[in-house]
């Protein structure tokens, strides 16, 4: 099993997990998970549900979340439903997302390592802040 998969968990459609998960790096949820998590990358797919307290570097939400979420960067997609409390440093939200929660912006959250955050986005949907910085030439300096 590769290093990436060693720290990854996937809960498939129909799978239900209740309990604790530790030493996890990334989780993809297609099913239902009732657990507290601390991890680098969380993806809740459209069919997925997560209930619990979560601390994450990057969260991509397309499904349902209920609980406390503390994230550096969150992408809330149009199919997502969020309930509870959310604290974030960077937020992107698509039209249609359903939020019934308290949201707090937190600038003091340390920046993510970067690679985990970038891996979560399709290449054409990458937020500008996660793109590699382009070197500016002489023309750019003049502007």
């Amino acid at each position: 099993m590769s290093q990436v998969l060693a720290k990854k968990s996937i809960f498939g459609t129909g799978a239900v997990f209740r309990g604790k998960i530790s030493k996890v790096g990334a989780v993809d949820i297609h099913g239902k998970v009732y657990a507290d998590l601390e991890l680098d990358k969380l993806v809740i797919k459209k069919s997925g549900t997560l209930e619990g307290n979560v601390r994450v570097g990057l969260g991509v939400m397309a499904g349902r979340f209920k609980g406390k979420l503390h994230a550096h960067s969150i992408w809330v997609m149009k199919s997502s439903v969020l309930l509870g409390e959310i604290e974030y440093a960077s937020l992107q939200m698509d039209r249609g997302a359903a939020l019934n929660c308290r949201i707090k912006h937190n600038w003091e959250t340390p920046s993510p390592s970067g690679s985990a955050a970038r891996d979560a986005y399709p290449a054409d949907m990458m937020p500008a802040e996660l793109l590699p910085q382009k070197e500016t030439g002489k023309d750019g300096d003049k502007l």
Binding site: M1, K7, S9, G12, G14, A15, V16, V24, K45
Partner: protein, 122 residues
Amino acid sequence: MFKAQKTSDISVQEVALIGSDIKTEGSIESPAAIHLAGTHLGDITCKSLIIEMTGSVTGKIKAVDVRVSGMVVGEISADNLQITKSGRIDGSLSYQRIEIEDGATVEGQFLQKKSSASAAKE
């Protein structure tokens, strides 16, 4: 004997995967397959369970197909049970068909369940 589900029968989205560095505690239920390479404390109920060499389970397992290449402490109830050469089991086994490879370590109680077909003949 152990028939892994064909990729056409099961989509990637239906599989549950626990990585080798991960420790889980609680219960997992799945209508499809679970691929366990990490450590799980608690019960597992699913259609098909594969415990990798690095995987371990302490608890009750109930599935149609179970393949053990890692370690299990507890009860296994399966229709088709395969224990590979790296498998280690300490507990009770309930099965319809079993296969144990040379080198596997098994300690505990064995109980063969009657299949529904043979039970109907009696």
